[in-house]
C-alpha cells in the first residue's frame, strides 16, 4: 500500500481578480523508502503541492492520504498535530532562526511541541551527527555556509522522526559541492525508510529519484507536423488552465481571447484576426493556458507544434 496517495488534487485561488489554478487534477503515489521528485519550472505549483501535503494549504478539491490519515479530511484544528507528528519540512530559504545556534534550531521546534529540554537537545546532538555538523553545533546560522545551513534545516525537519519529509528546492541556493552533500544526505534518509518528497527544478536530483512527478505535463507534440482545424462560431479552442501543447495561426475568421474571473465572469482580453497567432507562450515556456480562446466567427486555424512555430514564424521575423 502506498504511503502517500494524491488523487485529483485541485488548488484554485484568486489572484489580482483572476482565478488561478496552479494544480489541476494532480495524482501520484509515493512509498516508504522512496525519493519522489516534483519536477517543474518556477510557478508550476510545486510549492503549492508541498503546502497541501504538509497540511498548510487546504486544496480546493481532491484527496491526500498519508498512511491511514486522510489529510484533506482533517479539520483545521487537527492539522497542527498532523504536521507535528507526521511531517518534516525543509525549506528552500533554510529559514533557520538567526538568534539560535544550529543545535538550538534543531531542538527548538521539539521543545515547543512537547519534548523536554533534555530530550530535544539529545535528539539535536544525534541529528547533528547524522548531518555531519557536530563540530558546528554552537554556531549561529550567520556563521554557517549555505550548505551547512541547509543540512541543519534537514536535521530540524527530522527532529520528531517524521515518516514524510517535504523538501522545497533543497539545493536551490547551493553550489555543486554543497548540493552534493545535501543530495547524499537525502539518499541516506530515504534508505532509512522515510518517504521524501522533493520539489525542484534542479536536474541533478533526477538520477537519484525513485519517482518523478512532472508538474508540467509533456505536451503531445505533433512531431513537426502542422494541420488545419476549423471551429464554428462560439466553439472553444482551448480553456484557461489547459495544458499547452500547440500554437495557432489564424487563416480566416476571428477569435476572442478571454480570461475567467474569480467571480465566474469573463474578461475579453482581445480579438484576433487572419494572419495573427495565439497560444504560443504556454507551449514555449511550459505554462498552462493563461486564458481561454473562443471562435468569435467561423474560424480556420493552422495548428503547429511550438518548435515548428519557432522556426517558421518567429525566426522569419
Amino acid at each position: 500500500m502506498a504511503m502517500l496517495t494524491v488523487s485529483d488534487l485541485v488548488v484554485e485561488f484568486v489572484h489580482d481578480g483572476y482565478s488561478v489554478r496552479p494544480l489541476d487534477g494532480m495524482s501520484f503515489e509515493g512509498h516508504e523508502g522512496e525519493l519522489v521528485v516534483l519536477l517543474g519550472p518556477s510557478g508550476c505549483g510545486k510549492t503549492t503541492l508541498l503546502s497541501c501535503l504538509g497540511g498548510i494549504l487546504t486544496p480546493t478539491s481532491g484527496r491526500i492520504q498519508v498512511g491511514d490519515v486522510e489529510v484533506t479530511a482533517l479539520p483545521r484544528s487537527e492539522l497542527e498535530a498532523y504536521r507535528r507528528r507526521t511531517i518534516g519540512f525543509v525549506f528552500q530559504a533554510f529559514n533557520l532562526i538567526p538568534s539560535l545556534t544550529a543545535r538550538e534550531n534543531i531542538a527548538m521546534p521539539m521543545m515547543l511541541t512537547g519534548y523536554s529540554k533534555r530530550q530535544a537537545f539529545d535528539r539535536a546532538d544525534e541529528l547533528l551527527g547524522v548531518v555531519g555538523l557536530t563540530e558546528r553545533a554552537h554556531h549561529k546560522p550567520s556563521k554557517l555556509s549555505g550548505g551547512q545551513q541547509q543540512r541543519v534545516a534537514v536535521a530540524r525537519g527530522l527532529g520528531h522522526d517524521p515518516r514524510l519529509l517535504l523538501a522545497d528546492e533543497p539545493t536551490a541556493n547551493l553550489d555543486h559541492i554543497q548540493a552534493e552533500a545535501v543530495i547524499r544526505l537525502l539518499q541516506e534518509l530515504r534508505s532509512q525508510g522515510r518517504l521524501i518528497v522533493v520539489s525542484t527544478h534542479d536536474a541533478r536530483l533526477v538520477p537519484i529519484a525513485d519517482r518523478i512527478v512532472q508538474m508540467v505535463p509533456d505536451a503531445a507534440h505533433d512531431d513537426g507536423q502542422t494541420r488545419t482545424a476549423t471551429f464554428a462560431a462560439g466553439a472553444s479552442i482551448f480553456e484557461q488552465g489547459d495544458a499547452s501543447d500547440v500554437v495557432y495561426v489564424i487563416e480566416s475568421g476571428e477569435i476572442d481571447i478571454v480570461r475567467v474571473l474569480a467571480d465566474g465572469g469573463e474578461e475579453l482580453l482581445g480579438r484576433l484576426g487572419p494572419g495573427q497567432y495565439f497560444g504560443e507562450l504556454g507551449p514555449l515556456l511550459g505554462f498552462r493556458r493563461s486564458a481561454s480562446a473562443r471562435a468569435a466567427t467561423r474560424v480556420e486555424l493552422t495548428v503547429m507544434d511550438p518548435r515548428v512555430f519557432r522556426e517558421r514564424i518567429l525566426h522569419r521575423r
Binding site: 510549492t47 508541498l50 503546502s51 504538509g54 498548510i56 494549504l57 497542527e80 498535530a81 498532523y82 504536521r83 507535528r84 507528528r85 511531517i87 518534516g88 519540512f89 525549506f91 528552500q92 530559504a93 533554510f94 529559514n95 532562526i97 538567526p98 538568534s99 539560535l100 538550538e104 527548538m108 521546534p109 521543545m111 515547543l112 511541541t113 529540554k117 549555505g146 545551513q149 530540524r156 525537519g157 527532529g159 522545497d168 536551490a172 541556493n173
Partner: protein, 350 residues
C-alpha cells in the same frame, strides 16, 4: 518558549537595551508622579494630625482653617463643650532669616496655648514653652537656636517638626497663642477658632464644627487641579510606555514573521508563539521598571516638592507594567496569529 524569547532578546540586544532605557525613564517619571500625588494626598492629613484635636470649631460659613479667614472672639470658647477645648490661630505669613536676605519663605502660623492643643510635637529640639519661641517645619532652612523673622518679629527656633506642610509644601510654624494673636490680629481678644478633643456636644450658634479629616480634605481642595493634572500626566506616561514597548514588540513580530511561519509550519501552536512574544514584552517592561526604581532614587530629591513613594507603588507599578506590556504586544500578537505558515516556503536563502 523562554529560551526562544531570551535568545531573541540577546540577538536584538542593542534595540532592547535602548527600549529598556527609554522605558525606565518613563517609568521613573511615573514613580515620581505617583510619589507626588501620594505626598499631596497625605500632606494635609499628617499636618492636621500633628496640630492635634479631633474637631475644629470655626465661624459659620468658613470652609476650613487653611482655605478661608476665620475670626472669633476668644470668649466663644466658653460655650464649646468637649473633653478639651483650646483656642487656635492659623494664618498665612512669611518668614525671613534674621540675617536678612531675599529668601522670604511663605509659611502658615499656628498659634496655640502653651502647653495644649495646636502645638505640634517636635521631632528635634523642644516644644514652644514661652512667647518669642517658634517650632518650625524641617523643610525650612532653620536650625534650633537660629533667630528668624516672622512677619518682621524675631523668634528663636527651639525645635523642628516633620511632615507639617500643607498646600503642596507650605511649612507650618508653631508659636505661642499670644504671639500669633499679636502677629495676625494685633489683639488678644480674637482667635481663628478652637480645637476640641473628644466629641463636641455644644458650640455657639454661629459656628461650624469640622472633624480633623474634614479639615484635611478641605485643605486638599485647592490642589484638586494640580492632582488631576499629574494624574493626566501619569495616564500620558502610561500611553508613552505602551507605545514604546508596543512598537518594539511589533517590530520584532514583523522581523520574526518568517521564524514564526517556520515554527507554525512544523506544528508549534499559535498560543505558544503568542506567549513567547508576550513574554518578551513583559521581560522588557519589568527590566524597565526595575531600572526605574533605581533611577527614581536619584530623580526624586531633585524635585522641589517632597516625593512620598508609597510602598504599594513597588508592586503596583510592575503589575500594571506587566498588564500594559501584554496590551502593548497585542498588535504584534495579532500579526503573529495571522501569519501564514506557508510564508516559510517563500523568500531568499540566508
Amino acid at each position: 518558549m523562554i529560551l526562544l524569547t531570551v535568545r531573541d532578546l540577546r540577538y536584538r540586544l542593542v534595540r532592547f537595551v535602548v527600549v529598556t532605557l527609554l522605558g525606565s525613564v518613563v517609568f521613573a517619571l511615573l514613580f515620581v508622579a505617583t510619589g507626588l500625588v501620594e505626598q499631596f494626598n497625605k500632606e494635609p492629613y499628617l499636618a492636621v494630625d500633628a496640630i492635634g484635636g479631633d474637631f475644629w470649631v470655626l465661624r459659620e460659613g468658613v470652609s476650613g482653617p487653611f482655605t478661608a479667614a476665620s475670626t472669633m472672639p476668644v470668649t466663644a470658647g466658653d460655650a464649646i463643650v468637649a473633653d478639651a477645648v483650646a483656642p487656635v490661630v492659623s494664618a498665612r505669613s512669611s518668614l525671613l532669616p534674621e540675617d536678612g536676605g531675599d529668601d522670604n519663605e511663605e509659611i502658615v502660623i499656628i498659634g496655640g496655648e502653651v502647653p495644649g492643643l495646636g502645638l505640634a510635637e517636635p521631632s528635634s529640639g523642644r516644644g514652644v514653652e514661652a512667647p518669642g519661641e517658634v517650632v518650625v517645619d524641617d523643610t525650612l532652612d532653620a536650625d534650633v537656636g537660629d533667630v528668624v523673622l516672622i512677619a518682621g518679629a524675631p523668634f528663636t527656633v527651639v525645635g523642628t517638626t516633620t511632615d507639617t506642610t500643607i498646600l503642596a509644601g507650605i511649612p507650618l510654624v508653631f508659636v505661642a497663642l499670644e504671639d500669633a494673636q499679636d502677629l495676625v490680629f494685633r489683639s488678644r481678644e480674637v482667635v481663628s477658632g478652637f480645637l476640641a478633643d473628644g466629641a463636641v456636644t455644644a458650640s455657639p450658634d454661629d459656628t461650624v464644627v469640622l472633624s480633623s479629616d474634614e479639615v484635611a480634605a478641605d485643605t486638599l481642595g485647592p490642589l484638586d487641579g494640580a492632582i488631576a493634572s499629574i494624574d493626566l500626566v501619569r495616564v500620558l506616561l502610561w500611553v508613552v510606555a505602551i507605545i514604546i514597548i508596543g512598537a518594539v514588540v511589533y517590530l520584532s513580530a514583523l522581523e520574526r514573521q518568517r521564524d514564526f511561519a517556520v515554527l507554525k509550519a512544523v506544528g508549534v501552536s499559535n498560543r505558544t508563539l503568542l506567549g513567547s512574544l508576550g513574554l518578551q514584552a513583559v521581560l522588557v517592561a519589568l527590566a524597565a521598571v526595575a531600572l526605574a526604581a533605581v533611577i527614581q532614587l536619584f530623580l526624586a530629591p531633585a524635585f522641589p516638592l517632597k516625593v512620598r513613594m508609597p510602598a504599594s507603588a513597588f508592586w503596583q507599578l510592575p503589575l500594571f507594567a506587566v498588564i500594559m506590556a501584554i496590551l502593548a504586544s497585542l498588535a504584534g500578537m495579532r500579526r503573529v496569529a495571522r501569519s501564514d505558515p506557508a510564508l516559510a516556503f517563500s523568500g531568499a536563502g540566508g
